[in-house]
Each structure stands twice: as C-alpha cells, then as structure tokens.
Amino acid sequence: MASLITCPHCGTRPKEEFSIRGAAAPRRPSAGDRDEVWYAYVYVRDNPKGLTQEYWHHAAGCRRFLVVERDTLTHEVFGVTDAAALTRKEAAE
C-alpha cells in the first residue's frame, strides 16, 4: 500500500490520515439509464493489478476528496488531485 500521499493542500502525509472511498473511474449514469447500467455502476468493480484511480478522503487533514492514481502492484503513486478541481476541469473540456 502506498504509504505517503502528497495532498495538494496539506503536503506529504501518511496514509493513516486518509480513508479510501472506492474507485474513481466509474462515471455516474444519467437518471434515465437502464437498470443494467446502474447495476454495473453501483456494484460491478474491477480488481485491477496495476494502475488504478481511487477516491481518497483526507479525513484528518483538509477533509477534501482527492483522486489518487496509484499502482496496486508497485505501490507507486503517480498523481494526487483534488476531486472537485478534477471534475471542474473535466466539465470545462
């Protein structure tokens, strides 16, 4: 497990300060989508060996949701971004 996470607001912090809130890759379907699509969004998850994107809540720090891109095999952390900033950036594109 990646043990040091560099929070964009607080700096380098130990993983004990965070709470992992699940995969960040699935995108919420629209309200009118079929049940199968919603089922897949809510329940179906990969268990990736390698690169993964997760929501990490910085519970003991800035209390922001972060998107951590890390490797489950090598424990390497590639990037930490504020989830709200990322959503705003995606919406702008």
């Binding site: 607001h9 607080c10 700096g11 380098t12 912090r13 130990p14 004990e16 300060e17 910085h58 519970a59 003991a60 720090g61 800035c62 209390r63 922001r64 504020d82």
Partner: protein, 182 residues
C-alpha cells in the same frame, strides 16, 4: 459551594496542583482562547488576504476555504462581528469546543516528531504555517508560531488524552506544563 463548570478548564485536573517553574521545554495551555471556524465561499485567495490583514488575530489554514481564527486580544463577540461583516464568510464560534496548547523550547521538534507524522523542518513547515494533522492519533490543528514554538488546537474532549501523551513524549526532554499566565 457551587461548582462553576462553565469556567472550569478541561485540563484543570491534569494541571492544577502540579505547577513547577517552567523548563526550557514547556507546554502553555491557554485558559480562555478565542477560536472561530471560518468558511469562505467564492474567491478563496482574496479571503486569505483579507484574513491576513486582521492584526488582532491569526488565521490558520485548515483546507481550501477553511480557516481557524485564533484571537486573544479582542473578545470572541467583537471578532465574530468584525469577521461577519466580510461578505461571503461564515463564522462559527469554537472557543468552548477547542483547547489550545502552545509548546515551545529547544527540543520541541524532537518531541513533536513522536506525536505527528509530518515533516516540521523550517523549509517545509515555515513560521506562520499551519495544517490539520493527526497528533497522538487525534485529528488536530498544528501551527508554527516561532522557530521553536508550535500551537496545537485539539477538540476539547480529546484534550486530556493528547495532553497526557504529549507530556509522556516530552518526559525525556523535561517538558513542563502550566496554564498561560494572562
């Protein structure tokens, strides 16, 4: 005799009766601090500038758009009023819910190294900086107020536990504690 719990500090039982003359490494507990939680909406950098302009208090960064304002000179009401006048700021008085411990001395970083898992070197955590972090497993706010001086703000109900652990960690450096004189 009536016991006035309102003005009884939560660390009274940990401190009262154990007073000694302060050693170089010392924890000073503020008896009646003024602490306000401030949330901002809108242009966050402009708010940071406006908060820094207040001379009677210091704004401690917690996260984007969130500060803990610690004052001493002005009363809580006056400070709340003045901050309330700034449009876009929400102010909540936390004075009764938080405990401020000021720790200072030549060995302060060695003591805090056993309490927090954050690099407190001057180059990374400069004077005037502050952040939320885990201190003795409790979510608290740590701010650097001088080269060898820090202030820890803990939730009131955790203050006893954090204080005891802090004193335990400081024992080898002859850490003493007392209420602040003012």
């Amino acid at each position: 005799m009536t016991l006035h719990l309102l003005h009884r500090h939560v660390l009274e039982d940990h401190l009262a009766g154990f007073e000694t003359s302060p050693n170089p490494n010392h924890v000073s507990v503020v008896r009646r601090p003024v602490i306000l939680s401030v949330l901002a909406h809108g242009d966050l950098e402009a708010f940071a500038g406006r908060l820094a302009a207040f001379s009677t208090m210091s704004a401690r960064f917690c996260g984007p758009g969130e500060w803990l304002v610690v004052g001493s000179a002005a009363g809580a009401d006056e400070l709340t009023d003045r901050l309330g006048e700034v449009a876009g700021l929400s102010v909540c008085d936390q004075s009764d819910g938080k405990v401020v411990m000021a720790i200072s001395g030549p060995s302060v970083r060695k003591i805090l190294a056993k309490c927090v898992a954050v690099d407190l070197h001057q180059d990374v955590f400069a004077e005037g900086e502050g952040a939320n972090m885990l201190c003795c497993h409790v979510a608290c706010h740590l701010a650097r107020t001088g080269a060898d001086a820090f202030e820890i703000i803990v939730p009131r109900s955790f203050a006893g536990s954090v204080f005891e652990e802090l004193m335990e960690m400081g024992r080898e450096y002859a850490l003493t504690a007392s209420f602040a004189q003012s």
